[in-house]
Symmetry: C2
Subunit: 222 residues, 2 copies
């Protein structure tokens, strides 16, 4: 489904460069539940941004559904991304001026659903992550773990084929974290979504089909 | 050292109110190493902001060193806070226009230390949290866990009497998380700092003198 071949990522910093990914290879098959683990700074979010079509590699080839996507335009990339991928960001990136409900319903409004329909679906998915009683709060009126759950709801509302979650339980207590993992497990097993989770929690790794380990920008186990 | 008595926190939301803390009592003694645990949304960050003199309760009495501080002015509160408390925020709150080193050295510059001296101390503490090779990066050029460690360094650089850390290992892999905990343990045992850590990690709770458990805005165990 997604294939990364010999991927480099190199940032320019003034007159210096910082290489972050080194000839990285990775294959994700449809319907897999995968954990990506590795030390802080090892390149997990960087890889996720490339898999999630939010960033382009400096070198190497990305393919989605066997179609090479390195050379498609930014607009085409955005269309493919919005259609296929739901992304839970490590930093949430909720819109501060909007309520939880509005934040979650936005992807559906963009697809042309009515306000009424989007709002109903948004409330449903917020209920599912235990946020049913806080739909009218803005992000700064929510706890860290509540904001994380709103970000999860927003990623899932468009029924994406591929779910990318960057440390989705980092701010959650273990009970709430388990509920979120059960939701991802259900989406994978019952609805056949491809789910890729960056996590520091070995317990989550154990629930997945396989664990891809990163170290210093390279895959050391798959 | 810090005493909270019958603390309420009530937010106004339009024409409604949201009560978040309910007649909460808490006592922190000098030199203690304390974990605060509880479900997402239970009030941990709210309590930390009151202990950290960043927020005032709606009702109830706060005392620091046996001096009631409810009625002191905002300026006096700020002076007391900057002198006594180092705060690692759940959302980090790093300044996006400055490098890691500048972010960490700012508290010392405010105290009147020279640029040279502040920069040396900042680099030392950044080295201590494993960030010695990234001091010139801005926050958006750092991974989530790297930003968290810069926030930790900034909280510690002023040698505060009281260290408040709101989920300081949430974005860290277990090895880096252990290194951070060892740093807090050392500050508590060798330097006698009072350390209060909000955490979802029972492993961290076990390392502390005691665990204060919150549920729905109340203390249920201490
Ligand atoms: N814009 C940038 N310029 C320079 N270096 C960068 C930039 N963005 C990220 N980096 C570096 O890339 C490396 C990998 O970052 P990444 O965010 O992928 O790590 P991570 O594995 O997700 O870490 P964490 O577990 O802490 O979230 C880090 O060492 C970081 O300093
Ligand atoms: N400005 C606000 N207006 C209304 N409600 C608020 C506001 N700020 C916080 N809350 C509510 O206060 C409650 C407690 O929030 P707090 O941030 O203290 O939780 P927490 O225990 O730190 O959770 P987490 O583990 O998710 O970080 C939450 O239910 C939240 O919705
Ligand atoms: Mg990351
Ligand atoms: Mg919190």
């Amino acid at each position: 489904l997604i294939k990364l071949e010999k991927i480099d990522k190199i940032y320019k910093m003034g007159s210096n460069t910082q290489q972050v990914l080194f000839s990285l290879d990775m294959e994700i098959n449809a319907g897999e539940l995968i954990a990506i683990m590795g030390a802080s700074g090892s390149g997990k979010s960087t890889v996720m941004n490339i898999i999630g079509l939010l960033d382009r590699p400096t070198n190497g080839i990305c393919s989605v559904h066997n179609k090479v996507i390195n050379d498609i335009s930014d607009d085409e990339l955005a269309v493919l991304r919005n259609k296929t991928i739901g992304f839970v960001f490590q930093q949430f990136y909720l819109l501060s001026k909007f309520t939880a409900e509005k934040n979650v319903s936005l992807p559906l409004l963009y697809r042309g659903l009515s306000e009424k329909e989007s709002s109903i679906k948004a409330k449903q998915i917020l209920e599912r992550v235990g946020m049913g009683d806080r739909t009218h709060h803005k992000p700064n009126e929510l706890s860290g773990g509540q904001q994380q759950r709103v970000a999860i709801a927003r990623a899932l509302i468009g029924d994406p084929e591929i779910i990318l979650a960057d440390e989705p339980t980092g701010a959650l207590d273990s009970k709430t974290g388990k509920e979120v993992m059960n939701l991802f497990l259900e989406l994978n097993r019952k609805e056949k979504r491809t789910v890729i989770i960056v996590t520091h929690d070995p317990g989550i790794g154990d629930m997945c089909h396989r664990i891809i380990k990163l170290q210093d920008g390279k895959v050391i186990a798959s």
